[in-house]
């Protein structure tokens, strides 16, 4: 097994925390796949298995008042930002208790409390939003950072380039986190980019950019802390290219015709969880009982979350037309719909709690 950059595992307690964070994402998503095959979850499901070190490392560097923008592969980001596994799973079950009351699903998790601005199923769609969130912070004089996650596939979109330029031109407090897992669906990076060094592209916009081993959570965290500190102190946008790999198919519909099994197996040798776990065990800092207890804890968290989702209630159909426009303080009705025949909310009443 390839080793971590930081052999020493300096702070055992912190390392255990990181291990736990990655494991929480892993177990949550393994459960999602299981639930998907039982048809409890539907729609598109994109898992992050293999890439956990990226979200785990970057989230460590953020403060509660910072903002996060992610993609459709965002279960892990939401969880590690502080959205409960229960609220995430309930969302995928389409329950009223879900973080978006069942309207968003897997690809569209949002949570105002943790300043988690989605979940975005349009590739590169989140980048301009992140620029705008940072613009608002700058204009309001807040010392906050917006972290924006996106895949390397997004780099080909115009919105990526427009966002790089705006953020750099206006020196906005954005941390761009490119999750370079080498594939955009079936399209390998080398087949879609004339210049495959992504950090270099950001540098072309005068943005400080580094490429980081995205399988090494300690390296990710270290780079993210450095970048976030710089962004927060006013030195403009920063960019991390996090080199990682997705172990599973793009989505539940992907027959994976475009890559060799052997390539996947090779990357699995650098599973971010086993890497850290192995390094800690080698350093004698993760006794077997502690590792077992940690796994049991995480399993318990996930099974509680499944129970929460299972016991959730459907959002009443009478609420369907709500949130197309904001509730107005004076209209009293939660339904907000009209009374014409096509509006199935007409006359049914009954607001959710």
């Amino acid at each position: 097994m390839t080793t971590l950059k930081n052999h020493g595992v300096p702070d055992a307690e912190h390392a255990v925390h990181l291990l736990r964070q990655m494991l929480r994402v892993r177990r949550l998503e393994e459960k999602c796949i299981e639930l998907y095959s039982e048809a409890k979850i539907r729609g598109f499901l994109h898992v992050y298995i293999g890439e956990e070190a990226v979200a785990a490392g970057v989230m460590e560097a953020l403060a509660p008042e910072d903002a996060v923008v992610a993609t459709y592969r965002e279960h892990g980001h939401a969880l590690l930002r502080g959205v409960s596994a229960g609220a995430i799973l309930a969302e995928m079950y389409g329950r009223a208790e879900g973080c978006c009351r069942g309207r968003g699903g897997s690809m569209h998790l949002f949570d105002a409390e943790t300043r988690f601005y989605g979940g975005n199923a349009i590739v590169a769609g989140g980048l301009p939003l992140a620029v705008g969130l940072a613009l608002a912070d700058r204009m309001a004089g807040r010392q906050q950072v917006t972290a924006c996650f996106f895949g390397e596939g997004a780099v080909a979109e115009g919105e990526f380039h427009e966002s790089m330029n705006l953020a750099a031109l206006w020196q906005l407090p954005v941390l761009f986190c490119c999750e370079n897992n080498l594939y955009a669906m079936g399209t390998a990076l080398g087949r879609s980019e004339s210049q495959t060094d992504i950090a270099l592209k950001a540098a072309g916009y005068e943005i400080s950019a580094w490429a980081v081993d995205g399988m090494d959570v300690l390296a990710v965290e270290e780079a993210a802390r450095r970048a976030v500190d710089a962004v927060r102190s006013g030195s403009g946008p920063h960019f991390l290219e996090l080199r990682t790999y997705r172990f599973r198919a793009h989505s539940m519909f992907d027959p994976e015709l475009y890559r060799e099994k052997s390539e996947v197996v090779q990357w699995m040798e650098r599973d971010p969880i086993s890497l850290l776990q192995g390094a800690m065990q080698a350093a004698g800092k993760l006794p077997e009982e502690q590792w077992a207890a940690l796994q049991a804890d995480v399993d318990a968290e996930i099974s509680t979350a499944v129970g929460f989702a299972e016991n959730g209630t459907p959002e009443p159909v009478s609420e369907l037309s709500r949130f197309v426009y904001s509730d107005r303080p004076d209209d009293g009705s939660a339904g907000g719909g009209g009374t014409a025949e096509w509006d199935t909310t007409a006359g049914k009443g009954g607001a959710a709690g």
Partner: protein, 330 residues
């Protein structure tokens, strides 16, 4: 021959590539991945990467490049994964493809075909479920097709490629797996006329059901059930949303005196509104009842199954509208 909508589309692509070497297919994951809806599966092996051209995630760029290639004498078929992502290419489609001929005083026509998936029903949420073909049908300079049958899936592409101007083809995601019989000799079909797929009979109440694309199977189902209630329904498959074939609609309404329009798009400012307006303009005195419309609820399509179902047209809602139309004339 037994086939599916997906296979019929693929046969049409293969046929076009074989017949005209100016034809090529370009889009995201059309090659190595095998097409995001597997329409182009196997074509890379057959025609090579030059003609089955994978593109980066750059909708505006590669649609625009398709327009340029059409100007340069090629016959590109550009695939956009879904209509939702076509919004990133809207500028190229509307400001270039639809206008160049007119702006250039007739000098530069754009013979491009742009195919994309449309529609809801698979719990994909608001950013992957919209039906915006009616919106495109607002644009002069574009021709908008919505193949709903195996015959049209097989036959519309070649005719579209013969058109000197831009043609957009909308394939409803729920249709790809539809299986059925197709004539061995099935080939090019017209892309001008709506089809009267079924003529209501009997001496009882009559009405015309007008639809296209993904809602056609549901409407045919409703027509069957209405027949059981003694209501004879004509079913019109519009096939082409622009230019709209008012003739076929007005002819039928002149016989049935009632019309129900079924459209998965939203109601306000929609293709269903356009159809209702044309009926009012051209067949007002034939009507025995107000035109009814069954459309999607005016919400971004939600994820949860029960909410999505409530938002979309259904057989029940079509039947209810049909009964209202018939009752209103009684």
């Amino acid at each position: 021959m037994k086939t599916t909508y997906r296979e019929a589309m693929r046969a049409a692509l293969r046929d076009a590539m074989q017949r005209d070497d100016r034809v090529f297919l370009m889009g995201e994951d059309v090659g190595r991945y095998g097409g995001s809806f597997a329409v182009s599966l196997g074509l890379l092996e057959e025609f090579g990467p030059d003609r089955i051209r994978d593109t980066p995630l750059s909708e505006s760029g590669f649609v625009g490049a398709g327009i340029g290639a059409a100007l340069g004498g090629m016959r590109p078929v550009v695939e956009i994964m879904t209509v939702n992502f076509s919004l990133l290419a809207l500028d190229q489609i509307i400001n270039n493809a639809a206008t160049l001929l007119h702006m250039s005083g007739g000098q530069f026509n754009v013979p491009i075909v742009i195919r994309m998936t449309t529609g809801a029903g698979r719990q994909l949420g608001a950013q992957h479920s919209h039906s915006l073909e009616g919106w495109y049908a607002h644009i002069p300079g574009l021709r908008i097709l919505a193949p709903a049958t195996l015959r049209d899936a097989r036959g519309m592409l070649w005719t579209a490629l013969q058109d000197p101007d831009p043609v957009l083809i909308f394939e409803h995601g729920s249709l790809y797996n539809v299986a059925g019989e197709l004539d061995d000799g099935a080939g090019a079909v017209d892309i001008d006329k709506a089809a009267l797929l079924r003529q209501g009979d009997g001496d009882g109440d009559r009405l015309t059901l007008i639809t296209y694309g993904g809602t056609l199977p549901m409407v045919l189902d409703a027509a069957d059930q209405l027949a059981g209630e003694g209501i004879g329904a004509d079913v019109i498959d519009l096939r082409t949303l622009r230019p709209l074939d008012s003739h076929t609609i007005v002819d039928s309404v002149a016989r049935t005196h009632r019309a129900v329009v079924v459209d998965e798009g939203w109601r306000s400012g929609s293709i269903s509104a356009e159809i209702a307006a044309r009926i009012c303009e051209q067949a007002f005195f034939d009507l025995d009842a107000p035109v009814e419309r069954v459309c999607s609820l005016e919400v971004p399509v939600p994820y949860a199954k029960h909410l999505e179902e409530a938002a979309l047209p259904s057989v029940e809602r079509v039947m209810a509208a049909a009964r209202r139309a018939v009752g209103a004339g009684g």
